[in-house]
């Protein structure tokens, strides 16, 4: 027995999260390299190039600026941990981090955290959680990410 009571009905959600579409990134990777580690199978994949486009921003992935440092777990789910840099068409730098899960049933979702110049044109990306849906090509060398702002 637990010493707490679970509240019953009549509670209300105090607000909603709405998603707003932001942009798409098509990323190209080298083939993944896997190694066995005490934490599971480590899967490194270098990001070679990529194009980001949306209504409010156009950018390209800075070649070899990072990639994916994922872990394939015992249950076959892949913990996604991606880091790389982009440069916008106006020359501003963007840092992108992704944390999420890629499952064998096709579910590939992540949260992206983005940092860019606080005084720049893309300041709106800072301090925002982006919800990401991704799809990998069969050879896993191309991944298309779609980003929604969690408003």
């Amino acid at each position: 027995m637990r010493d707490f009571a679970v509240p019953k009905t009549d509670t209300r959600i105090l607000g909603k999260v709405q998603l707003e579409y932001a942009f798409k990134l098509t990323a190209h990777y080298d083939p993944p390299q896997e190694s066995h580690t005490p934490r599971g199978t480590f899967r490194y994949q270098d990001i070679v190039s990529g194009e980001l486009s949306g209504e409010r921003v156009t950018a390209t992935v800075y070649p070899d600026s990072g990639g994916q440092y994922d872990t394939i777990r015992e249950d076959r789910v892949r913990d996604v941990d991606a880091h790389f840099m982009l440069k916008t068409d106006s020359g501003e730098w963007i840092y992108m981090e992704h944390v999420g899960y890629r499952r064998s049933d096709g579910y590939y979702r992540a949260i992206a955290y983005i940092e860019t110049d606080l005084k720049g044109k893309y300041e709106w990306m800072n301090n925002t959680s982006f919800v990401v849906t991704a799809k990998e090509s069969a050879d896993q060398r191309e991944v298309v990410f779609h980003y929604y702002i969690a408003n």
């Binding site: 509240p7 959600i13 209504e55 789910v77 944390v99 949260i111 959680s129 919800v131």
Partner: protein, 210 residues
């Protein structure tokens, strides 16, 4: 939506309600409130991009947690790069269609920099211990934010934050034991977070990303 001023005055009401029992209130926010209970799953809400080739993304309310705080400590100040806050978790409760239970008392804290960064434990009604790591993002706007519109920066500091609209989001990563709560290990979550006073607590509404 509400300004921070009305938000806070609403929150005081909620605090009083929270003290008197286990009812959360409608008064807390001007946001469209949806009913939610342990027995009633809410339908998923789907969002789409400007063109139909863009995959839709769905959110579905999974559960909510009310987290009560104990100590509030600050190392340095928040305007310093070395600023670090510590807000310990006293306890709390969890309800909703996919998880019920409690926040394990004194199991951790929010060790925040500019926004929260929490590490503590949940305990499901079946006794399972679930580790929660929340990362947060927070933005303040000079006026109510409307999707697609350019953002207006907040008034210059140290002006009072009254009247500034705040978007607080938590993104949460769970480590749950193998068993009925296993799905939490492979699901992406986003939550909204509403700080309440009197008593000092925050309500998180967790949505699973479909």
């Amino acid at each position: 939506m509400t300004s921070r001023r009305t938000f806070l005055s609403g929150a005081t009401t909620v605090g009083a309600v929270a003290l008197s029992g286990l009812q959360l209130s409608e008064a807390a926010s001007g946001d469209a409130a949806a009913p939610g209970s342990n027995d009633e799953a809410l339908p998923a809400q789907w969002f789409e991009g400007p063109d139909p080739s863009i995959p839709k993304l769905g959110l579905r309310w999974a559960f909510s947690a009310r987290v009560f705080f104990a100590d509030r400590v600050m190392i340095n100040t928040m305007d310093s790069p070395a600023g670090r806050g510590y807000t310990s978790v006293g306890g709390g409760d969890i309800w909703g269609p996919r998880l019920q239970g409690r926040v394990l008392p004194h199991s951790g804290a929010d060790y925040y920099k500019t926004t929260f960064n929490t590490y503590y434990m949940l305990q499901a009604a079946d006794g399972a211990l679930i580790f929660i790591h929340n990362r947060g993002t927070m933005r303040r706007f000079a006026s109510h934010y409307e999707p697609g519109k350019p953002l207006l920066p907040p008034p210059a500091p140290p002006a009072s934050q009254d009247g500034v609209w705040t978007r607080f989001r938590a993104t949460s990563y769970f480590t749950a034991p193998i068993g009925p709560h296993d799905w939490m290990n492979r699901t992406v979550f986003v939550a909204n977070s509403q700080r309440q006073s009197n008593p000092d607590h925050t309500v998180f509404n967790y949505y699973e990303v479909l």
